[in-house]
């Protein structure tokens, strides 16, 4: 009897789980499907789900109208560059906060996080003017810098959380075993923190890849990443749904593939400490 109830509950939860999953995935699926329709079919009522004339025309058009690979390369440089630079700054910061905390460490962490509470638009004008005056507008360097600074609080917080999970005893044992600070980091801390560093890296690449506010406002053409590439299809002449969908599909494809292959690492990273 108990077994029957459990099986029934299991089935209900499975169905609910699938429904929620499909609902969340539906907009992405719909974008992908629309990208293979003609503009007419894309706006047809009622919309056709699978039975339409499949075409690659939108992809050709998008590529001929705007250079996908240039935008994609900008996205790669900006997202990877800002994340790596962020890690270089954040690892020593998180390290000292986790293993050599001071009286004010908690306050510093809160202060760093509080910068994320400010709406970005609140600092748009000063940052725009600084970028203009220093010649950083529409440059990859400028965007790498600004996105690094925007994501730095999250990187520091994530790394701090992972480092806090590493028992201090183990680092002290390495010190007693004759390891210098450099060797302690290289042979003991780094191998133990690799999962945490990797998931921080992945999450921040995704955040930087999808970032639209700063990339749209501080670029025009030469440093424009994929977010600007998508935005260029919602033009004043009207919306071209099929082309917009093709552009969106092309923009999200690389990060979707990366996310798919690293999902195990991401889930482990995001639930670190919660399920031990």
């Amino acid at each position: 009897m108990a077994r029957a109830v459990t099986a029934k509950r299991k089935l209900t939860f499975t169905v609910i789980g699938w429904l929620i999953g499909l609902t969340l995935f539906f907009p992405i699926l719909w974008t992908i499907l629309t990208s293979f329709k003609t503009e007419g079919e894309a706006v047809a009522t009622p919309p056709s789900f699978l039975f339409f004339n499949w075409t690659l025309e939108n992809y050709f058009e998008v590529q001929s109208r705007s250079d996908y690979f240039r935008h994609a390369m900008n996205s790669v440089v900006i997202s990877f560059g800002s994340t790596l630079l962020g890690l270089i700054v954040a690892i020593p910061a998180a390290w000292s906060m986790a293993f050599s905390p001071s009286k004010r460490t908690k306050d510093i962490l809160m202060w760093m996080l509080s910068t994320k509470m400010l709406p970005p638009v609140g600092v748009l004008v000063p940052i725009y003017l600084m970028f203009r005056d220093s010649g950083l507008l529409d440059t990859r360097t400028g965007l790498v810098g600004v996105l690094m600074l925007m994501n730095l609080p999250i990187i520091v917080w994530m790394l701090y959380t992972y480092f806090k999970e590493i028992p201090n005893d183990i680092l002290e044992a390495a010190r007693m075993d004759g390891a210098s600070l450099g060797r302690e980091i290289l042979y003991v801390l780094a191998p133990m923190a690799v999962p945490g560093i990797a998931s921080t890296l992945l999450l921040n690449i995704i955040l930087a890849w999808n970032e639209a506010f700063w990339t749209l406002n501080l670029t025009a053409s030469s440093a424009a990443p994929l977010s600007a590439f998508i935005a260029s299809y919602s033009s004043p002449e009207g919306l071209f749904w099929a082309k917009l969908s093709a552009a969106s599909t092309l923009a999200i494809a690389p990060i979707l593939v990366m996310g798919w292959f690293s999902q195990k690492q991401l889930v482990r990273g995001l639930t670190f400490g919660a399920v031990k």
Partner: protein
């Protein structure tokens, strides 16, 4: 060599002083146990010797060299932690080999030394395993292996047996004592368990609230406690400490008598009381007796005693086994 000297060592965390002007001499090859209740500063004192904490004032000498500001890696000491602190991402072999690699020894020498240490500690068949695949006792042995492999000047043990079950603890206690005898290296061992202290130590250092209460051999501390604290801490069951009339008649503020020294009789004696709880251990019987006008007294009798809850019993403290303490708890 492993002679360690502490000279006026003080340690304060912010405004709280946890170690107060400690002076201590540890001679080469000695097995010294730091014992005391939780929070008495025994682990802090060990960490100061290790170099994992900096002294606030005072100096630490190892083999005549001032190491007060020397980092832990350069003091030539090895430490076994309560949590074992094994490197989880390394095999048992690599855990034991780690200090040798850090010392820059060549691969052949490392292999030979690791295998020798593994043989001593019965770890040969576990060398390829990770720490997570070992039992508590095996992990503790790996931690000891990592310590002995580099032949340190002294071993520091920070409550190494407190995570093990009772049976394993007894075995490991014997193993560590045997290791000390075969290596003849200085060992400093921190514990709150006075049985470990009594059975293992050449010299016990009793600590209380960051101060050394007494230093001496286990039997010295048992026979001649310097004050009430040591008298109450060393010995199991605890010494009975009595104030009031029985102490005053003997010219003291407090008198103490160990449970095993009290003479028991069903007919006559100095104090009469009623048995509250009788704990029968087979070899011994612990009686918790409620004595009129004095309070609860614990007495230990050898073997089985025909006494149970509610029975009347007479207790007599033998004068030659009586401890007297003055106004400030000092032995008189």
């Amino acid at each position: 060599m492993g002679a360690i000297t502490l000279e006026h060592v003080t340690k304060a965390f912010e405004n709280i002083t946890v170690i107060h002007h400690v002076d201590l001499e540890i001679t080469d090859g000695e097995f010294v146990v730091f014992v005391g209740p939780s929070g008495c500063g025994k682990s802090t004192l060990l960490r100061l010797i290790a170099g994992l904490e900096d002294t606030t004032t005072g100096r630490i000498w190892i083999d005549g060299a001032d190491v007060t500001r020397t980092p832990p890696a350069k003091r030539g000491l090895a430490m076994v932690f309560q949590s074992y602190a094994l490197y989880p991402h390394m095999s048992v072999y690599n855990n034991i080999a780690f200090p040798l690699k850090m010392a820059g020894e060549d691969r052949g020498a490392i292999k030979q030394k690791v295998e020798a240490a593994a043989a001593i500690l019965n770890l040969t068949s576990f060398l390829e395993r990770r720490p997570a695949q070992l039992s508590g006792g095996q992990r503790q042995r790996v931690a000891i292996g990592r310590a002995i492999v580099r032949q340190p000047k002294a071993f520091l043990f920070d409550e190494p047996l407190s995570n093990l079950d009772a049976a394993l603890r007894t075995n490991m206690r014997i193993e560590i004592s045997e290791l000390h005898q075969s290596l003849a290296t200085t060992m400093i061992y921190v514990t709150h368990d006075q049985i470990e202290a009594m059975t293992m130590a050449d010299k016990i250092v009793v600590l209380n609230a960051g101060r050394i209460e007494q230093v001496g051999s286990p039997l010295e501390l048992y026979r001649k406690p310097a004050n009430i604290f040591v008298a109450g801490f060393i010995g199991s069951p605890k010494m009975n400490l009595l104030e009031g009339a029985p102490a005053e008649t003997r010219g003291a503020k407090t008198i103490g008598v160990r449970p095993e020294h009290i003479l028991l009789s069903k007919e006559s004696g100095e104090w009469s009381g009623v048995v509250g709880v009788a704990e029968h251990l087979g070899s011994d019987t612990f009686l918790h007796v409620q004595v009129d006008g004095i309070g609860s007294i614990t007495a230990r009798a050898s073997g089985e005693l025909g006494l149970a809850h509610g029975d009347q019993v007479w207790l007599t403290p033998p004068p030659e086994r009586l401890y007297r303490f003055g106004e400030h708890g000092e032995a008189i």
